[in-house]
């Protein structure tokens, strides 16, 4: 396997590309289904992130051929971005602290709810009717 990357380039049977291609479609459809069927809470996070990692993993491993590359190149590709996980963890901890401080000491509303497009677009008309009555 390793010797193939030296001279001949990354050549593999077409079948594996078709399999991964179909798999990516299925997993994407599954992650869309999570939204379509309105799965919420911890289940939503788990499913979306698992599907995301599966897709990312297969794209890197098979489509980008990382699975067949030599370890020296694979670690160069995946090692430095791995450090970013520390940045993400730090910013998550910091973000949690900031938002709690804003709720606790700056009087921000913890229970505020976002408006939907239907409410925003309907708001003008309904309001107008109320005034008219």
């Amino acid at each position: 396997m390793a010797s193939s990357s030296d001279t001949a380039g990354q050549q593999h049977p077409l079948g594996i590309y078709y399999q991964i291609w179909i798999l990516l479609f299925v997993v994407s459809a599954a992650s869309y289904a999570v939204d379509y069927f309105d799965v919420q809470g911890a289940m939503r996070w788990t499913l979306v992130i698992v599907f995301m990692l599966v897709k990312a993993g297969f794209i890197i491993a098979i489509f980008m051929h990382a699975f067949w590359e030599r370890l020296a190149l694979v670690l160069t590709i995946l090692g430095p971005p791995g450090v970013l996980l520390i940045l993400i963890a730090f910013m998550a901890v910091e973000g949690d602290y900031t938002t709690e401080a804003r709720f606790d000491y700056m009087g921000h509303d913890r229970d505020a709810v976002a408006l939907t497009p239907a409410e925003v677009h309907g708001a003008g008309g309904e309001h107008g009717e109320e005034e008219a009555h």
């Binding site: 291609w21 599907f51 030599r70 370890l71 590709i77 970013l84 993400i88 973000g95 505020a112």
Partner: protein, 226 residues
């Protein structure tokens, strides 16, 4: 030991291979230099996109205003009731399709099947352009109909607009650049530039294209779904 490894025709795999590669006197990566450089570029691009997404994580966590409901904002109706997030789902499928055609182009390139390689590269560029077209529609709908701006929107946290325009804009720029790059590569293949040199260029262009698809996987999950 290292002499034996350097002269050996079949380098060892795994950790022994890693040590051999890094202690070799000549070169570390046994790939064409263009491919190594593309990988290095993609690693740096990973840092840029991760910084954007981490910035998004931070503003999304720290804003005390509610986050706008993406599922409904990106809904589209085809005559009937609006289908949630359908435009983004179609964009995702278009991009995956383009990734598949790109993988086939790389494969046919190494088989030296120039005609199929060019056809599949052009198909990839076509799907890429379709993606950008849909993104233009998405942007104009959001700006003109929904009134989303980088500094505010009618639904909730104003950071929604700034994150949206920055992250999807930067990604769309990558797709647009990729379409131009692919067409340029296809034209050079057509002109016979790589007949003697070999078709690694298709794999190098493919790495860039798959990376763009890869970034979309994360944007789709974090910005649109969660």
């Amino acid at each position: 030991m290292s002499e034996a490894a350097a002269t050996s025709m079949a380098p060892s795999d795994g950790v022994t291979g890693l040590v051999d590669d890094w202690t070799a006197d000549k070169q570390t990566y046994h790939v064409p230099w263009g491919k190594a450089m593309m990988w290095i570029f993609l690693v740096s691009d990973t840092f840029i996109f991760t910084c954007f997404l981490t910035g998004y994580l931070n503003v999304r966590m720290t804003t005390t205003q509610p986050w706008p409901p993406q599922s409904e904002i990106f809904a589209l109706s085809f005559g009937g009731a609006p289908i949630p997030l359908i435009l983004i789902a179609i964009m995702t499928f278009v991009l995956i399709t383009s990734s598949g055609t790109m993988a086939l182009a790389v494969n046919y390139g190494y088989r030296r099947d120039k005609f199929r390689t060019i056809m599949f590269i052009c198909a990839t560029a076509f799907f890429g352009a379709t993606f950008v077209g849909m993104q233009v529609y998405e942007w104009s709908k959001l700006i003109l109909e929904e009134g989303v701006r980088p500094w505010g929107n009618p639904f909730g946290a104003p950071q929604f607009g700034s994150v949206f325009f920055m992250v999807t804009g930067f990604h769309g720029l990558h797709v647009s650049a990729g379409v131009i790059y692919l067409l340029w590569v296809a034209r050079r293949i057509w002109a016979g530039h790589y007949d003697k040199k070999g078709f690694e260029i298709v794999e190098i262009a493919g790495l860039y294209w798959h990376f763009v698809d890869l970034v979309w996987v994360f944007i789709f999950a974090f910005f649109y779904l969660l």
